[in-house]
């Protein structure tokens, strides 16, 4: 039946990844974090004030509320070669704007589907809820993501990647 096309696409993907893995020796992933001003961005600041070290690969972009994050920002980040994107903000109950995180979830679900259909590894896109005092957690999330991405290898959209 239709098995053919699918299976082919799958094995080529695996092939491609293994190729990628071989090519890259310890590459440095680039991560974009969209962080809401009131919780996650503050958490990142706390990580700083408490001098909690985490990999340099991350670049944080401040938005007022996670409900403000438009899918285009994330797609754009991938277009420009980001290896991973984290959409982060308050917990559901801490939101400065009452229910931003819920709205963010709605956006994120659709976005996730796009990324999936595009054939990007789902792990490259993350949704995190990090509260003000959770500097440690922020650092931990970044570490995880970096390790995960190092395993995955660079995003196919990186300018560097030849095809």
């Amino acid at each position: 039946m239709n098995g053919f096309n699918l299976s082919r696409s799958i094995c080529t993907r695996q092939l491609l990844q293994t190729k990628r893995r071989r090519k890259i020796t310890e590459f440095e992933p680039r991560i974009i974090v969209f962080a809401c001003n009131w919780c996650t961005y503050a958490a990142a600041d706390i990580a700083g004030t408490s001098r909690i070290q985490y990999p340099h690969n991350v670049r944080i972009i401040r938005v007022m509320c996670s409900g403000m994050i438009d899918p285009i920002y994330v797609l754009r980040a991938f277009e420009r070669g980001a290896d991973g994107v984290i959409v982060a903000g308050c917990n559901y109950t801490d939101c400065h704007y009452i229910d931003g995180p819920v709205k963010c979830d709605v956006m994120f679900e659709k976005l996730g589907k796009c990324i999936h259909t595009l054939g990007l590894e789902d792990e490259r896109l993350r949704r995190e809820l990090i509260s003000t005092s959770e500097g440690t957690i922020f650092a931990k999330v970044i570490k995880d993501m970096v390790n995960q991405l190092k395993k995955l290898g660079p995003s196919p959209f990186r300018k560097k990647v030849k095809s």
């Binding site: 440095e28 503050a42 600041d45 972009i61 938005v63 509320c65 438009d70 754009r76 980040a77 709205k103």
Partner: protein, 656 residues
């Protein structure tokens, strides 16, 4: 647009940044970036000389954009914005790159930290060139306040504001203010007579020069927003001229038509023309149109005949009063749960099963039995059962706890012991004596030899199976501490009924754009830190309309609401958030997605000469940006967080 001229300032913050980041290098790098005119590094940008540096450069190099690379904007954004403003630059033409908390402090590798710092600066420079000056809008606040609901909460709020010498409109839908509290006999745990505390406050309201009392009135329409609400109030026809009526009550005596008295919870009768209770404010009669025979048959007019003041006016009609206020306090209170739907408790079926309120009236000296605790047949009861959680903590009715029942239940026990020293049984699940002096009161009641049975009552029946159950009401209850079903024969049963949201709460919510919980009570802005504010700016809630609570709590909440209203007034103006949503009308479809998603009811679709377009109420918009995300056409953008601004950062930062 004029040529963009950016100044970049990189802060050493002592060694905090310079220790890990090569700030000179970053500054040199910044200088090369497009439209950067001047780029410096300095020991402490936030220090006076540091700020002076910026101010001078703005003038000297006629900069129109400023970027400071230093600590977190959460720390010093305001500082530097102010600096820009001092130098005559719109504060929104400033951008801060966080190279301390999010760079130098979290990375140790100098090279990489420096690279990251460069990226962050480049991104900031790119972003700031898209910045637009924003004006800081200020709207005036109308100093008048509307208080809806004339119960203890409404009264307290009104008085607090009026004593601050601000005009208050107090709207009460009943003929008199006083609410539920005026019906109560005594208050726990102190057992003060509730009338004695409330009446002075009521009189004060009645006479206060700053309070305009609109009794027997209902709010019909609310428009506008914080600072400037327009409210339509319907003043219902009393068929009595308030200005003439002297409250002598002759009409009441002469009126031949009897009706159940709401005030006495049906334990007594009132007339078709009536003054609800002796201390009523305003003290004027009201004709109950439904029951007045004149309105039914066109005959009688007894009241008119006997009224010397000839205040009776059968032709009176409802008036619509329009008022303008700056803030609104909603204190619409609660309804009492009607226990007759719990058939197994037999309320309405057995004469001697009473609600708490009815018992209140009974023990009240001024009440229908003038303070006598008596059975229907006039006998004095030997034993009384007090059943807790009637309609509360029960999936079938209300899951929540009504907070006050335990205490008033104990109060009844105390009063019964005091008045007739009958046998008392308290049937409870938990004794919730949480408040100041409550536990002590509980102990006092225990000392009186009241029987406490921990268990939920299953059934109340008059079917006797033993001698001593004859002619009594028998209560079937499982004593969970004995672990067995027991039968308790008593003469009288008092049901501690739940407090529930007003039956018309939904209507009120729609009127003032409040949100409701599943159980109908109104939602506050934040449970913890904004308990009296609501998502609608300028509308506050107080008392039991927010959830069941006792008198001190209601009073405190009322004062809190008053404080919020007062501080709004004394500010005199609202500085509207500048970084808010903006609608491009040529792009807007008027599809209303924004209206649907906006939590603050700021976005609204209007019909602009035939075309549907969305509009943003700038005094209400918080700039959370949700509307821009759902807008399909790109008509809505968020000032200072436009797609260009954010995408420009993404473009820089995503590349590696």
């Amino acid at each position: 647009m004029a040529e963009v001229r950016i100044g970049v300032y990189v802060c050493h913050c002592g060694t905090n940044i310079a220790g890990t980041v090569d700030v000179e290098e970053v500054a040199r790098y910044a200088k090369k970036l497009p439209s950067v005119v001047i780029s410096r590094d300095y020991m402490y940008m936030c220090s006076e000389p540091g700020q002076a540096l910026i101010k001078n450069d703005i003038k000297e190099f006629s900069l129109n954009r400023v970027v400071v690379a230093s600590c977190s904007p959460r720390m010093h954004e305001l500082t530097f914005r102010a600096a820009c403003q001092d130098a005559g630059l719109n504060p929104y033409l400033y951008e801060q790159a966080n190279i301390r908390e999010q760079c130098s402090w979290v990375h140790s590798d100098r090279k990489q930290a420096t690279e990251k710092a460069k990226d962050l600066v480049r991104a900031a420079v790119r972003r700031v060139s898209h910045h637009e000056p924003l004006e800081v809008k200020e709207l005036p606040v109308n100093p008048n306040v509307l208080v809806v609901g004339g119960g203890i909460a409404g009264i307290q709020a009104a008085l607090d504001i009026a004593n601050g010498e601000k005009k208050v409109y107090l709207v009460e839908k009943e003929p008199s203010i006083g609410g539920h509290m005026i019906q109560l006999d005594r208050t726990f745990p102190t057992l003060d007579c509730s009338e004695c505390i409330l009446t002075p406050k009521m009189t004060e309201v009645g006479q206060h020069p700053f309070i305009e009392l609109l009794a027997y009135s209902e709010v019909e329409e609310v428009s506008g927003s914080v600072g400037n609400f327009k409210v339509k109030v319907r003043k219902k026809a009393r068929y009595v001229d308030e200005s003439k009526c002297i409250g002598c009550g002759v009409c009441e005596q002469k009126c031949p038509w009897k009706v159940n008295s709401e005030f006495n919870a049906g334990l007594a009768k009132r007339k078709a023309i009536y003054i609800p209770f002796a201390q009523a404010i305003p003290n004027v009669a009201t004709i109950d149109k439904e029951h007045c025979v004149y309105f039914k048959t066109g005959k009688c007019r007894a009241c008119e005949k006997f009224c010397q003041a000839n205040a009776i006016d059968f032709k009176q009609i409802d008036q619509i009063i329009e008022i303008e206020v700056g803030s609104i306090i909603v204190a619409t209170g609660y309804d009492n749960f009607d226990p007759s739907i719990i058939s197994q408790y037999g309320y309405g079926k057995y004469d001697n099963v009473l609600t708490g309120l009815q018992f209140e009236r009974m023990t009240c000296a001024g009440g229908p039995t003038s303070g006598e605790v008596v059975l229907k047949d006039g006998r004095m009861p030997d034993s009384i059962a007090i059943v807790h959680c009637v309609g509360s903590r029960d999936e079938n009715y209300h899951e929540y706890c009504s907070r006050v029942c335990c205490m008033y239940g104990l109060k009844y026990a105390y009063l019964i012991k005091e008045l007739i020293n009958a046998e008392v049984y308290e049937m409870y699940i938990d004794m919730r004596c949480y408040g100041e002096g409550f536990e002590e009161f509980y102990r006092r009641v225990c000392e009186l030899g009241v029987n406490f049975i921990r268990g939920k009552v299953a059934k109340i029946t008059d079917q006797a199976i033993t001698e001593d159950e004859q002619g009594k009401l028998t209560i079937l209850v499982e004593d969970t501490l004995l672990g067995e079903m027991i039968r308790v024969p008593v003469d009288m049963v008092i049901l501690c009924t739940a407090l529930e949201a007003r039956s018309d709460a939904e209507k009120i919510a729609a009127l003032f754009t409040l949100n409701q919980r599943a159980d109908g009570f109104f939602l506050e802005r934040h449970v913890k830190l904004d308990p009296v504010a609501t998502p609608t700016d300028g509308v506050f809630i107080a008392g039991c309309c927010e959830g069941p609570k006792d008198i001190p709590d209601s009073v405190a909440q009322a004062s809190a609401a008053a404080a919020k209203a007062l501080s709004l007034i004394s500010k005199g103006k609202i500085t509207a958030e500048s970084a808010i949503a903006h609608v491009n009308e040529t792009l807007c479809h008027g599809c209303g997605r924004c209206e649907e998603t906006c939590t603050f009811h700021a976005a609204k679709v209007i019909n602009k000469n035939g075309v549907m377009v969305s509009t943003i109420n700038e005094s209400v918009c918080k700039g959370c940006g949700a509307c821009a995300v759902v807008c399909p056409t790109g008509a809505i953008s968020i000032k200072h967080f436009t797609q260009e601004e954010i995408k420009s950062m993404v473009d820089v930062l995503a590349e590696s």
